[in-house]
Amino acid sequence: MKRPALAAALALIAISLFMVGYRIVSLGYPVTPARPDYVWTFRFDGVLQGTGKDPLFLLSLPSQGHGQIILEESIGSGSMNFNLLKEYDNRIGVWSGKPGRNGEYISYRSTIVFQHEGTERTVVPPRSSYPYGIADEQIGLIEGLTGHWRAMPLSTRVQVVLGFARAGAAGSGNDPDLTKLDGTLEGYDDITRLLILLAAVNVPARTVEGVALAEGVVDTTFPWVEAWTGQGWEHIDPEGMKVVPSAKKFLPLSVGGMSAIRTSAGRISMKRFELTRNIMGRWRIFFERVSRSDRFLDVWSLFRIPPEFQQTFRILLLVPLGALLIALLRNIVGFQTFGIFMPVLMALAFRSTGLVYGLGIFAAIIAIGYAARRYLNRMRLLLVPRMSVLVSLVIFCFIILALAGNKFGLRQFMAVGLLPFVILTMTIERFFVVVEEHGAKTALQTAVGSAAVAVITYLIIQWEVLQITFFVYPELILFVMGLQILVGRYTGYRLSELVRFRSFRSPGQ
């Protein structure tokens, strides 16, 4: 008899843990989905003035990928039109049309999260190429001078090039070849020099324009160089000609030498880039990922249902926990409650009123209802009509409460919602019957027991960490079911029975 229940419980628990484990290990779900993470809010504001016919304004926008996820974006374009353009690796926002006479205010805003996992992978290694406008004979000369560097390993090549870019020929004792190289590169700016040198030693490189990833406001972007080192792009600071270890310190906007901001037949009279760092629950970040994924469990995820229904399921998923709690309190502790699920329903009702007001409203209405029920008892009413009188009374109380709440500005009094009237009506009737049959003391004990269970259930279902965890891993319900089965097979004494049968303990030994 005991075995199948135990087996079923363990099987449910095992299935649930297996599914959670599979999601975490194979699908990369967050272990602690409720933990907060940092997200960045990137914002561009500008005022565009038209100077000719059909002005255009192009802004390179942050793009998806390389450990960078855009959670949400919004665009302000005033009376102008907005289009999104893809250009190689860049996403470009294009504002077109006629700006207002005093300029047009435009804006772009996005929430970006950087993932720390090193899942960044470029499948095809890029090829090195020279910047535009370098003559072939010059390339031949430079390659001739740097020939011995090309034999070195990739990372050493980058270091050697950077060393030369920093100090020039003077850095290596005025080697004649290098002095010649210096002369050849005369006239190019630092970034172009670096790009030429890296191309000469077969290191793929690109220029990137963007902003530093730090809270604050800047009015301009700056360029840097990224060199391919085999595993990924390394960020090179053009000021110090050094490799900067983590690329997560910059927000790239435009990749490949294009300017991040371009205008035609217009000019920008004001521009600012603003970055702020915010805290956001991991599940929100995660939600974005799931909603773009094609994997089976991601497609069949609660995150995919329309957001207006998600809140309901966040609560529903925790109701089984409340039921488990009631099972525990009744069968193992020996609590008395009105009905089995009354406390759960009460807890759900408390969500809209809050705990203190909820308990107060419940106590007050049950007291009024009880007085009315005593009086009704003298009036020879049949069961069903009598219950309908109680329902009307309860709803009438709600209305009085709402009106009083409105008068005194207590929103909680108006937030009773639809659910509680059933619970209250039933509780009044149950309370009356228990008073009649078992006395006021038992009735009050049961009422306090129900309220206590309702409060604990309320605290559980309102606990966001739990809500999110169950929402991300709905299979945890199976776990709860397993525990419920185990409670159902607990045939030992209830804690209350230790008191009830205390006269049998250590009998006359």
Binding site: M1, N331, G334, R380, L382, L383, V384, V433, E436, E437, H438, G439, T442, G488, R489, Y490, T491, G492, Y493, R494, E497, L498, R500, F501, S503, F504, R505, S506, P507
Partner: protein, 313 residues
């Protein structure tokens, strides 16, 4: 040790609520048989088939349209008991000891208008007192005239004898004695006294009142121990036959002793309470285990089972 109190109760052979529900009731009482004991009208009919005496039935009111028959049912009766057929814990019962022109006098001395009692009947029919609120029937039956044996330890009302029967073997018994606190009801959590009865001798042993051991009745002051229950063997036999009657393996039989008719089966309960253990200062679990170890042949007839119980428990 945290587990120590649990072990103590187990060693005392106490049956806990969870254990009773899961291992005894669920294992021994098929759900399909519950209606036989949940409805007193059905129980009465079954008892009649098994030649088990019950209080004389005056009438049953099953529909709201029949409520007006109430007057004709009680027409030539001076006293009667009005009960819901599915009532539990003694709720909804009204005992009428005297009838006047338009009023009725209850056992506890209250005066009720006959019209009010008709309202009470409609309440019963609407299921106010039934276990799950289903529609119910009202039973009108003969009032019990309690035997004088417990008169000295009874405050009003009717004392009744509860016999717990496991697999047809009476394993424990007590008499429930109404007190002023219980308002004349033989209801332990209403405040009645429970006095354990020795199965062998039929003598009352210890008594419990609201979970404390008492020697005397709180209202009359008379000792509750050592009273010999009359018709003891017959009572046990009536209880033991409830197995054949209902097919339920765990039952609480409530029996009253009428001055004129002797022991009468009042009702059967498929979920008898655990307080009887306190009244007997011993646990049900130990006796259940003993019955499970008993030789198979003792289960053949009610007589054998009673005999075995009186010798072995």
């Amino acid at each position: 040790m945290i587990l120590h109190p649990f072990r103590e109760l187990h060693e005392a052979g106490i049956l806990g609520m969870n254990n009773r529900n899961a291992e005894v009731i669920m294992a021994r009482n098929p759900r399909s048989r519950f209606p036989l004991v949940d409805n007193k009208v059905v129980t009465k009919e079954l008892a009649a088939l098994s030649d088990i005496p019950t209080p004389e039935l005056y009438g049953v009111i099953a529909k709201h349209g029949e409520v007006r028959q109430f007057r004709s049912i009680i027409n030539n009766r001076d006293s009667f008991a009005l009960k819901p057929a599915r009532g539990s814990g003694g709720s909804g019962i009204i005992l009428v000891k005297e009838k006047r022109e338009t009023d009725l006098i209850t056992e506890s001395g209250r005066t009720i208008a006959i019209a009010d009692l008709r309202y009470h009947i409609t309440d019963i029919l609407s299921g106010v007192f039934s276990l799950e609120g289903q529609d119910d029937q009202a039973i009108i039956e003969a009032l019990i005239h309690p035997d004088d044996v417990f008169a000295a330890v009874t405050y009003r009302g009717v004392p009744d004898i509860r016999v717990v029967v496991y697999r047809g073997v009476p394993i424990m018994s007590m008499v429930r004695l109404p007190t002023a606190a219980s308002d004349g009801k033989a209801n332990l959590h209403g405040g009645a006294i429970g006095a354990g009865i020795d199965l062998q001798s039929g003598l009352t042993i210890t008594a419990v009142h609201r979970s404390t051991i008492v020697a005397r009745h709180p209202d009359t002051g008379n000792p509750v121990c050592g009273i010999e229950v009359p018709h003891w063997k017959k009572i046990l036999l009536m209880a033991a036959r409830s197995l054949e009657m209902t097919g339920l393996g765990y039952i609480g039989a409530d029996i009253v002793i009428d001055r004129y008719r002797g022991p009468l089966l009042l009702e059967l309960n498929a979920r008898p309470g655990l307080a009887i253990q306190m009244a007997n200062r011993t646990g049900l679990l130990r006796r259940i285990q003993k019955v499970d170890q008993a030789p198979e042949n003792i289960f053949a007839t009610p007589e054998n089972r009673v005999e075995w119980a009186r010798q072995n428990l």
